[in-house]
Symmetry: C2
Subunit: 258 residues, 2 copies
Amino acid sequence: MQVVIIGSGNVATVLGRLMVSNGHQILQVWGRNALHAATLAAELNAEAITDINAINTEADLYLLAVTDSALAEMASQLWLGDKLLVHAAGSVSLSVLKPASTRYGVLWPMKMIRKQMQTLTPVTIFIDGNTEEVMKELEALAAEFSDTVSRANDEARAKMHLLAAITSNFTNHLYHLANHYCEAENIPFHLFLPLIEDTVSQLRVSHPREVQAGPAFRNDSATLERHRKLLAQYPDILKIYDAMTASIRREFGWEPQN
Amino acid sequence: MQVVIIGSGNVATVLGRLMVSNGHQILQVWGRNALHAATLAAELNAEAITDINAINTEADLYLLAVTDSALAEMASQLWLGDKLLVHAAGSVSLSVLKPASTRYGVLWPMKMIRKQMQTLTPVTIFIDGNTEEVMKELEALAAEFSDTVSRANDEARAKMHLLAAITSNFTNHLYHLANHYCEAENIPFHLFLPLIEDTVSQLRVSHPREVQAGPAFRNDSATLERHRKLLAQYPDILKIYDAMTASIRREFGWEPQN
């Protein structure tokens, strides 16, 4: 396909790169920042533009990859007729694209994307479209980038976004807190990588309920108190420790459910 | 080495199996439950005993692998002279073994061990001993089972135990909560496995601070409110959502630190 990329950030860069490596041709890269647009355009062998009115209207696909909060306003400045227009944002409605085209959709890679990535995998890509034909076309495109492609409308995508926050952002924050503690106490954080990787690998074979362990799960109050004492100098970590402990205890019947 | 295993549960089974596969000979398996002792002894080609006074006192190594709360009392019933005695519990003091031998230590695989495991890896094993010679001996033994062996005295082991709870038990609980939500909302949990695995794989190359993402990190209150609405029917998950969000916001300066 011939593609115009509107945006020059992380998502524009990585999706553009993947399109090129899958045989698509990038005609133009638009960027508000001329240097960013020129840099990405050079990598993708495309023309750099900074004037939204200079967009080539003969491409097959327009990827609108600007920050979430700018999507609606950018779309309102475009009119692409029946050319396929997509955005790549998990938490933005499909309908923001309606002013700009009669055929529009979403292709959301559920991953934190950074410029230096050469590949997206492993990743689940969620797609949506304003017609069945658009959805089929985006499913085929997304399948070039990932083995795991799934449909999700606005409401479903909002739920996926929530689940991504819980399973990725929150777990990463726990690693961050543990890393803090390790740095303060001179403990090598890498000692915990085998345990962390093992915990995750269980998800492919077991329900999380079956592998829950630890003092809160066992209602082992002596160990819970010992852990709390070790956190006396870390009130932020202690708050999380108490919240997670209470939640595990509710889950396994040691405390009443809400 | 010639080994006597006192216990017939998960840790006794898996460590016993690893010892046999590394060329050690298991002389006896003691178990309070005759059937459990006989089953494990048969697998390890050892004698099953249920009388603690029937223990062969000529072995090189005695592995005391009973439940944490029974360790001290079991040790008080043994006298092994200068035979090496070890327990495998993270949160129990080395000193509980003092009444039973002049040479004693700890070999703690930091992992949730279940009978069906044929291998321990990936795992970090922490060892301790009452003398330098015991520590060296246990380091060599642990190195047969894992590439990652580290020393940790009682105090250090308590900190490792806390960090294991944060990085493994708490993250698993987050997967459990997400799985609940998926089951209730008819969302396939497996869609999140690529994201979860990717989040963990970042730990080998980046500091967790560098890869933190999500609405709390960005101070994106519109998305936070949308997520909270999606959790209205899930008060237990909402509590955790709020606690984690507050902690991330404190961490990245959107809320005052404690």
